[in-house]
Amino acid sequence: MDALLLVEQGLNGLQLGVMLFLMAAGLTLVFGIMDLINLAHGTFYMVGAYLTAALVPVLGSFPLALAAAVLLTALLGLVVEAVALRTLYRRDHLDQVLATFGLILFFNELVKIVFGPVPIFLNPPAALAGTVDLFGLKYPAFRLAILAVGIAVAVFLWLLIARTRVGMLIRAGATNREMVMALGVDVRRLFGLVFALGCGLAGLAGAMAGPVLAVQVGMGEQILILTFVVIVIGGIGSIRGALAGALLVGMVDTLGRALLPAAFRLVMDAANASAAGAALASMAIYVLMAVVLAIRPKGLFPAH
């Protein structure tokens, strides 16, 4: 494998990691601060993708449709929090798992009724449809856009959490929720805000994933498992952990898929090597999770 290919695979891993970070950041905030296990996080990812696909023909511009979709997804999050989740904070995790699983079924069915069962169309905007020449490496322009958006969100979240009053409460809430409540902070509003922020981030991830992946019912569940792996590796409730976990998972997954089949080819024939490599690569992130948890049982950067 030559150097250019290795650089390209590195970029691929980075881009997948950034994508996962958009999902994981919201999930870890909700889990860490509100102590709510939200299995329906992937639902907001799906809603973000569907809304973007539906709004592009209406608004005629991808960035506008994306902005509108992210806002609408955050608003939907506010409504869902007020209607369905508020009563769950004091219940145990199993109840939350059941209730948010119910939300998945509800929203999947709703999207199927509104948009139909067949995957719908969403392509990147014309300006980002092709490839960009990076020192002789032709790289898909839209993947670079995902990378840029992910980095921008990471910076935004860092500023929000490290530099603002809301951020201070979020940090305090993640570390010691009871103490923040005891200090008389309007917890209800804080929770609503955090949940909407998480949903908006998931919606943004969905909107950015839509042009690359199939926009279809159930797309949220496919990425949810990876997202949970990310926050478990990173440590629950920590944005820094989510970033580190996401980049690690993105890299290990991509490089595993790129390098393992090649490694197996050294010792067996091509077809078997590819099948064995693919099988092992699909396990790589779980092996990574096991190794991380064996060394640091609470993840890399736990908030608690």
């Binding site: 999947n108 993947r143 797309m219 091509a270 690569a281």
Partner: protein, 388 residues
């Protein structure tokens, strides 16, 4: 007291219902939720349209279709197969999309002496050594579709082809089928995870291998992911892409739009096939469901036609299993794709076409038949099947 009597009366009424003689009960176990749902829904809708065209009576019998969602999970599918045999006592199970599910369900259904008529999944195992008196396939043996593109790519003179498929039975069958007719160099043979979302790593390897053509088998959502990413990686137009009809069918074309234009693919059916039954089917399907039918919808329809033909041939007698089996096996099906006969392994002998993804007159992206690659094509595994 009145209430108790009422309850008793309704309970008796419920018990009495199954006694109605010779209702044809069909279990439709298919994928109705999750990423593979588009395929199952098309099979179900195509099947329902055929039942509607037959006035609700397949083979002249009152027909009841019991739907169940296998969620694309083998364990769920086996549980449902059990339920259909034990509780619902259906005579026929159909609907299965995925080869791994079909393989898992067969022992339960065959053990319960329930006919299993696949509208899609056609794994090589069930065509060869593990063929079964209770298993029929109304659609194809998986390999047949791939063989056609293999022959086309060989005839067109491509010398260095890169192959990709998901790592599951139909994926391996597919590439084996392609290689049975393609004799040139294989620049790479890559198996990816079933349900994989991101193909960036594999596409980078593909580019580095510099093949002169690419053959991929990705059904459903995987196909959408792959085709979008293939174009975004700048490979569309640079390296010709080929695939079986599964990877470039209507369910996928609606979601990828013009990204797939010009791709040649193969199938036993195409929406533009010129026969009266097919024209009615395409028009009625569009009118009823508001979308162009896919191969899967046509296969669902053909499956119902096969049941209709066989049940008619036995005069509605569903109890004599040997007779019904003989009727299914000897059916000369006037299907949407023309005449289909069945081989000794219960798989079809039929024509396979080459299609091209084009923009139709109404602006919709769809498939156009461009050639007949095989006429009366049998599968490669029939010689291993002990049923003669």
């Amino acid at each position: 007291m009145t209430r108790n009597l009422l309850t008793l009366a309704s309970a008796l009424a419920l018990l009495a219902t199954p006694a109605a003689a010779d209702t044809l009960k069909i279990g439709m176990i298919t994928t109705l939720s999750g990423p593979g749902a588009g395929l199952g829904i098309d099979i179900r809708d195509g099947f329902a349209l055929a039942v509607e065209h037959a006035g609700g009576k397949l083979g002249g019998q009152d027909t009841q279709v019991i739907e169940a969602d296998d969620q694309q999970k083998p364990d769920v599918a086996v549980g449902l197969a059990n339920r259909m045999v034990e509780r619902d006592r259906v005579q026929v199970v159909t609907g299965v999309v995925w080869s791994n599910l079909a393989l898992a369900m067969l022992p339960t259904l065959a053990g319960g002496q329930t006919f299993f008529i696949s509208p899609n999944a056609g794994p090589s195992q069930l065509a060869g050594a593990q063929c079964n008196p209770y298993f029929f396939n109304a659609a194809y043996q998986n390999d047949q579709i791939h063989e056609a593109v293999g022959k086309h790519v060989q005839d067109e003179g491509f010398k260095k082809v890169y192959l990709m498929a998901p790592n599951y039975p139909a994926g391996k069958d597919g590439l084996a089928g392609f290689k049975r007719y393609y004799k040139g160099e294989v620049a790479g043979e890559v198996y990816t995870q079933v349900g994989q979302l991101d193909y960036a790593a594999e596409l980078a390897q593909l580019k580095a291998a510099a093949p002169d053509a690419v053959y991929v088998f990705y059904p459903g959502g995987m196909g959408i992911n792959f085709i979008k990413q293939y174009e975004q990686a700048g490979l569309k137009g640079a390296v010709p892409l080929f695939g079986p009809g599964f990877s470039f069918d209507q369910d996928i074309l609606a979601a990828v739009g013009e990204s797939a234009l010009g791709v040649k693919n193969s199938a036993q059916w195409s929406p533009d096939l010129d026969n009266a039954a097919n024209k009615t089917f395409v028009a009625d399907f569009k009118a009823k469901y508001g979308r162009i039918p896919s191969m899967y919808a046509a296969q669902g329809y053909d499956t119902a036609l096969l049941i209709d033909t066989a049940v008619k041939a036995v005069g509605g007698n569903l109890k004599d299993k040997d007779k019904l089996r003989a009727a299914l096996a000897s059916a000369k099906l006037q299907s949407l794709r023309g005449e289909v006969a069945f081989n000794t392994n219960h798989y079809p002998i039929h024509d396979i076409y080459l299609r091209e993804v084009v923009k139709g007159a109404d602006g919709a992206v769809t498939n156009k038949t461009v050639a007949t690659v095989f006429t009366n094509h049998a599968d490669a595994y029939v010689k291993d099947c002990p049923m003669k």
